[in-house]
Amino acid sequence: MSGSLAVRVRRHVVDAELEVPLGGPPVTALFGPSGAGKTTLLRCVAGLERPDPGSVVVFGDELWSGDDRHVPARSRRVGLLFQDHALFPHLDVDANVAYGLRGVPRSMRGERVAEALATAGAGHLAGRRVAELSGGEAQRVALARALAPRPRLLLLDEPLSALDTPTRSRLRVDLRQVLVRSGTPTLLVSHDRTEVLALADRVVVVVRGRVLQVGEPAEVFGRPADAAVARVVGVETAAPGVVRSRGDGVLGVEVGSGARRLTAVEVLGETTLGPGDQVLVCIRAEDVALELPGRAGPSSPRNHLPGTVTAVAVDGPLVRVDVDCGFPLAAYVTRPAREELGLVPGSAVVASVKGPAVHLVPHPQ
């Protein structure tokens, strides 16, 4: 199938058979527990490992078929961003970016290097020595190097894991913007939910080598298809929102269709957020309390969201209640609590969420 990646790999501990859609919005994330062989999969697609026996088909183009077709890494037109960037230490920034431009006429290379550096937000780093770059700068240069040959597919291997925490949260936004700007179909592998929420337009949940669910991050994290997916991703509402106000360390965020205002406490490391910024509002189901309308007095939780129960499902000792309060919100309550409140689909409830339980992930479109 064109517009997708089909991989069959049996290698070491990895036994995977996947078809990953890559058409439409640019960034697709392969999400799964660590140690599941996601990196091996990526290396097989790049041509750095041989899926023996197995097959790799990218956009309908058979790159590896196990017996007769073996396209070497150098001919695959696939970009790869290494975790540790792997910049060539003996070359400067420009020569690094130009490295993959062998097929481009010499007179046009300078232009292409400048273009790639600009796309990656690294124009100011031209001519620098690699040893002088910080972690974040090195990543931009590595991105520019991967994008310069205009690959048909860009592969990212846990792109933010090699960076320290403050750099990471800053770069999440930058990286997302670069990926959207370049428009190159991108496949990233990660076991970090924040990374996936911040970067991806589509999540493919992979457990033991099989695709369990494909969907938008908010959908997959908020409404896992089944218990197996829920165990891997956790249950978390992740609704798109826009920051409207900021003051006293508290951000006001508008979420969902009813223009309801949710109060969110500024999250450490996300201090760059301000009015107008697009975010994903993440709330774990365990942090949502439900009460009946009209009974609430003053209380410490800052957010009281009236809504209607849409679904009730028993999940072990807990009951998962889905509430529509302008946006879909999941809540976990105990079974006695559900009895006492008489929760059934259609019940009117008020969902309470404490400010610090609201986690904002910047997510520019």
Partner: protein
């Protein structure tokens, strides 16, 4: 002192070094980066001259270059002269016996190159030779220098193989080390002493140079 022999030694060492660098750069690359199992066997063969008595190596080379071997016959048909007891034959022997001295330092240097850089090069569209020339070799310059110095020095110091294959023809195959042996045989202590002193000084200089190269490790990024 036997200047003629010193000149033969210098010519032989220069030619051997030039040939071996061309051969060893890709050969060591293949040994270092290939994933096939039998590279271990190939590595053992390359290292053989390190442990084999020079007379044994010389004996086999002499047999291979003789008129009864296909190689020797082919050479005689093409050039009209014998390979054994000629400078060309000496050069072939010297290339083979010095092979490990060129390959081993390069092998060690390649081993210190981050594999990810080689992978990055492949993904960016370079083949094996391109990656070797643009990434592995530039990052192994100290190893390349060590290989050149050691090959040159070992060729100058070679005795057993040279005697077996080259014989002792002045101006053609009589090298400095053989000249010392000759002088002693002829009770010419003065000449033997002078040539020995020259070789001693040369060896000391070479070793100092080698250790300096290794200590510094070349530019900072060349160190593993």
């Amino acid at each position: 002192m036997d200047w003629q022999a010193v000149a033969v030694s210098a010519r032989l060492a220069l030619a051997t070094t030039a040939i071996l660098l061309v051969v060893a750069v890709p050969l060591a690359g293949w040994l270092a980066f290939s994933r096939r199992r039998w590279t271990v066997a190939a590595e053992a063969v390359v290292a053989l001259p390190l442990v084999l008595p020079p007379t044994v190596l010389g004996y086999y080379l002499l047999v291979a270059m003789g008129a009864r071997s296909p190689v020797g016959r082919w050479w005689q048909e093409v050039t009209g002269s014998t390979l054994a007891f000629s400078f060309s034959g000496l050069l072939v022997a010297s290339v083979l016996s010095s092979l490990p001295f060129a390959v081993q330092p390069l092998l060690a240097a390649y081993g210190g190159v981050d594999r990810r850089l080689l992978e990055a090069s492949a993904v960016l569209g370079r083949g094996w030779w391109g990656t070797l020339g643009r990434v592995a070799l530039p990052l192994s310059r100290a190893g390349l220098a060590t290989a050149a110095v050691l090959t040159f020095a070992h060729t100058v110091g070679e005795f057993g193989v040279v005697l077996m294959v080259g014989g002792n023809i002045p101006g053609e195959t009589r090298t400095a080390s053989i000249s010392v042996y000759d002088s002693v045989q002829a009770f010419d202590q003065v000449s033997a002493g002078r040539t020995s002193l020259l070789l001693l000084g040369f060896s000391l200089v070479v070793l100092t140079l080698t250790y300096t190269l290794q200590r510094r490790g070349g530019p900072g990024w060349a160190r593993p």
